[in-house]
């Protein structure tokens, strides 16, 4: 049986751990607030952009052409952008996205494609470097304050590399943020952009939206509007993914640290009970010794 001092030390160390996990929980819940706020206030732009894009597509029909839309003839080189957290201690947040992305990448490889990975966040890089996947490069230590610039840089880079034929398809892997308790690993095609999704959506919502089929005056024409809309839409998509990754990470960390704090409290109360029992036993033993010592005299 553990000695009194052992138990006391153990209690002390668990208390320290609890203090840390509690602090981490508080920090991430504050960050989560900020992150969800940012994601929420970014939504109107995204929605309005989508609506505008829909209108232009509806007016321009299938005749619209743009480098970002062109289906490449050879589809061998594939770029996968994966967004994870920089740090751990956030439950299975990174594990889920890494595992899911790895499955998708293996599918692409099995289809005879050459996959290169661009990592946003340390944890993705760690995962894929260890399993000897080709990592084109990694952007780490992301600060939410720089998300607009990061999204900008990535979208410019993707457009440039597409123009230079460095890759023919690009995918984005990130955790879509649904709520504090649920994030969904998502693997979607970034480039070439798919417009038929927008078409379908407009067909579904045209009833309540109404505006999609009305006669807009386009200034300048639909295809030049398209040329401006598409890069903007790409950047917005990336920006949104960054925001959702941040929100998801903080949400996961908050719940994980909350659970850890609770576990630590349980452990402390169990240990305290054990400690008290051991102390009681020691006192009883001492008493018996004194009493039997006195009797012997």
């Amino acid at each position: 049986m553990a000695s009194l001092r052992d138990i006391r030390n153990r209690i002390g160390s668990v208390k320290n751990t609890r203090q840390i996990t509690r602090a981490m929980k508080l920090v991430s819940s504050a960050k989560l607030n900020r992150a969800t706020q940012a994601a929420t206030s970014a939504r109107p732009f995204q929605q309005a952009l989508e609506r505008t894009l829909k209108r232009v597509v509806a007016a321009g029909g299938e005749g619209l052409d743009h480098p970002l839309l062109r289906q490449p003839e050879v589809q061998a080189e594939v770029l996968v952008v994966i967004m994870t957290a920089d740090r751990g201690l956030c439950g299975n947040f990174n594990a889920i996205i890494n595992r899911n992305t790895q499955i998708e990448i293996d599918k692409l490889v099995a289809a005879g494609k050459n996959v290169r990975i661009v990592c946003y966040g340390k944890k993705g890089r760690q995962h894929f470097a260890r399993r000897s996947y080709t990592i084109a490069d990694a952007v780490i230590d992301l600060n939410p304050r720089n998300y607009p610039e990061i999204a900008d840089a990535l979208s410019v880079r993707l457009q440039r590399e597409l123009a230079e034929d460095t890759f023919s398809e690009a995918y984005l892997a990130y955790n879509r943020y649904r709520s504090v308790l649920s994030q969904e690993p998502t693997f979607l095609q970034l480039l070439p952009m798919k417009l038929h999704d927008a078409n379908q959506a407009s067909a579904q919502t045209s009833g309540d939206d109404g505006g999609a089929t009305e006669d807009f005056i386009f200034e300048p024409d639909a295809s030049s509007l398209m040329a401006r809309l598409l890069p903007m839409s790409l950047r917005t998509q990336l920006f949104q993914a960054l925001l959702e990754t941040q929100a998801g990470e903080q949400a996961k960390r908050m719940t994980a640290m909350d659970a850890a704090t609770r576990n630590a409290s349980d452990l402390i109360s169990r240990l305290t009970l054990e400690y008290n029992r051991a102390r009681q036993a020691a006192i009883t033993k001492e008493l018996i010794e004194i009493v039997s010592g006195a009797e012997a005299l």
Binding site: V156, G211, P220, S224, M232
Partner: protein
């Protein structure tokens, strides 16, 4: 006579409210919109948006984007939006020089070139604001 106006940037809704008239920098020149305007979807340059209200004028410097005009509302989708009074012309002059350098260095029609062009446009708009 009123138009509901929203100026939306990627980060947030920068301004919304009701105005009498909007003037925005369209790609093909400045345009004004009053209530009852025809449906219009226009690309906009970086420049100054002027909102006419009862109390006077409110002016914003906006980045590139789009304007969606209907008979009762105007939505401006722009890269950035800052109050006219917050425009830093000295910084803009520096940015203009820098962007011009990048523009001359980049190959025409490359992504960098387009990006530098946008930066030149924004810096010029700030200086002219």
């Amino acid at each position: 006579m009123s138009l509901s106006v929203q100026i939306v940037t990627p980060a947030a809704v920068a301004w919304q409210g009701t105005v009498d008239e909007v003037q925005a920098p369209g790609l093909n020149g400045e345009f004004g919109a009053l209530e009852g305007h025809a449906l219009l979807l226009s690309a906009t340059r970086a420049g100054v948006v002027t909102l006419h209200q009862k109390g006077g004028l409110t002016r914003f410097l906006v980045g590139r984007g789009f304007a969606e005009v209907s008979s009762s509302s105007v939505t401006l989708l722009v890269d950035l939006c800052e109050p006219h009074s917050a425009v830093d012309k000295a910084a803009a002059a520096k940015a203009l020089a820098d962007a011009t350098n990048r523009l001359t260095a980049a190959a025409p029609d490359s992504v960098e070139w387009l990006e530098a062009q946008a930066a030149v446009e924004l810096a010029t708009a700030r200086i002219d604001a």
